[in-house]
């Protein structure tokens, strides 16, 4: 497969926005894969944390913005905890989520939640869940 790298896509304004929201620099990552290795939910992701960062480095933002992975990341911070470069993939996923949520693209609806869950869920699950999945 041929990949065409152009300066304009490498310096995508969306990547800059992601870096501003997250406070992270995607160029800090040297692709060791520790984040994916420690990630408890990588098995359920379509794009693993390491891949997500590589795509951002390459300016392939639309695939990242559409990836299911952002909604699966639980922000457990195992990635950040084990990153030798101090990069927080969780914060980058958060930024990707925020771009979608701030544009009104919610990932959950109250009416869609199971009654069995609402009946005895801890309040913190709802508060945290809505902050992560609803704008």
């Amino acid at each position: 497969m041929n990949i065409k790298l152009e300066n304009s896509s490498l310096k995508s304004p969306v990547v800059e926005l992601i870096e501003r929201i997250s406070g992270e620099l995607v160029s800090n990552c040297y692709q060791c894969g520790n984040c994916t290795g420690g990630c408890p939910v990588a098995y359920a992701m379509d794009i693993a944390p390491t891949q997500m960062i590589r795509m951002l480095q390459m300016g392939r933002v639309s695939e990242v913005l559409e990836a299911e992975s952002q909604w699966i990341c639980v922000s457990c911070l195992q990635c950040y905890s084990r990153c030798p470069k101090g990069v927080s993939a969780a914060s980058l996923f958060e930024a990707v989520r925020q771009i979608n949520l701030r544009s009104g693209r919610n990932h959950a609806e109250i009416s869609g939640l199971a009654a069995s869950f609402l009946k005895d869920a801890p309040q913190q699950a709802l508060v945290c869940g809505f902050r992560k999945l609803v704008g």
């Binding site: 501003r20 929201i21 997250s22 406070g23 408890p40 939910v41 098995y43 359920a44 699966i72 639980v74 922000s75 457990c76 911070l77 195992q78 950040y80 905890s81 927080s88 969780a90 914060s91 958060e94 930024a95 925020q98 959950a108 869609g112 939640l113 869950f117 005895d120 869920a121 801890p122 309040q123 913190q124 699950a125 709802l126 508060v127 945290c128 869940g129 902050r131 992560k132 999945l133």
Partner: protein, 288 residues
């Protein structure tokens, strides 16, 4: 000794046993958990978005309220601990952000509060050795798996309660009660957290990993300090049991329930009846 106490949303509702057992235990140990006169939800997640300070307003309000009552605030829930401690660090170290957040909530607070977890109070102010001396009903070698989860420990440089990859504070606590702590590989792994809102398959997988890991190492019960971990593990255990040959179900309890028990509280008043898997038959069997 009085310590300002922030219960947080879940300890006033589905985790009442966690709250009550801690308050009663504190009395026996010689201090009072003085609930904040005014408090609100901490937000249940520290915002990973430094570009937007709105998420710091709620925990900042809690901290400024707590400051009026003392120089430290204690929490029981790991998530509250995480959110308050990290917010406090931002308010203490970043003058610019502090001015914006405090201006918004119309409070005056300098970040001078010390945010501590109840386990730290037991370790650093009371001392596990003293708890061992006071415990009138030791747990008679019950094998307990200390499950830390995420929020108590990470990120290390902000939380600092213990070593990030190999913590022992909860094991040391369990030893002081006369239990035998069981080390297991998944003790610092995630339970699935808020994914219980829609991805119960992922929660079941993650919580299942934790429980299988603990039970395989011989744990007879699993101990937690987070109501969401407790909920996710309990809710997943039925499915884990039916899908894992040889798996035996274990009670998932709060560390303060065991503390209360060891300090002599009535086992019927510790909230064990609210747990899906009741610990009392195990306690009876072992003569505790």
């Amino acid at each position: 000794m009085k310590i300002p106490y922030y219960p947080g949303c879940t300890l006033s509702t589905v985790a009442k046993g966690f709250d009550a057992s801690a308050r009663e235990s504190a009395k026996v140990l010689g201090f009072e958990m003085e609930e904040l006169k005014q408090w609100n939800c901490c937000g249940a997640a520290f915002p990973l978005t430094p570009d937007n300070l709105a998420g710091l307003a709620a925990p900042a309000k809690v901290l400024s309220n707590a400051r009026r009552m003392g120089d430290s605030v204690v929490t029981l829930c790991s998530v509250c601990y995480n959110v308050l401690k990290r917010t406090n660090k931002v308010l203490r170290d970043d003058k610019e952000k502090r001015a914006v957040v405090l201006g918004f909530i119309e409070e005056d607070y300098d970040g001078g509060l010390s945010v501590v977890h109840f386990l730290e109070v037991l370790r650093d102010r009371i001392g596990f050795e003293n708890i061992k001396k006071i415990a009138k009903r030791p747990l008679k070698g019950i094998k307990a798996g200390a499950y830390y989860g995420c929020m108590l420990l990470r990120p290390f440089e902000d939380m600092g309660i213990d070593r990030c990859e190999a913590p022992t504070i909860m094991e040391d606590f369990l030893s002081s009660l006369g239990a035998i702590p069981v080390d297991f590989p998944d003790k610092i792994e995630c339970c699935g957290a808020h994914l219980s809102m829609g991805r119960t398959d992922v929660v079941e997988k993650l919580s299942g990993n934790v429980m299988r890991s603990a039970v395989e190492k011989g744990a007879e019960l699993i101990v937690t300090s987070c109501p969401l971990c407790q909920h996710n593990l309990e809710k997943s255990q039925g499915a884990v049991f039916s899908k894992t040959p040889g798996y035996r179900t274990v009670p998932i309890v709060y560390f303060t329930q065991l503390l209360g028990l060891a300090l002599g509280q009535d086992e019927n008043e510790l909230g064990f009846d609210k747990n899906l898997w009741d610990a009392r038959p195990l306690l009876k069997e072992r003569g505790v």
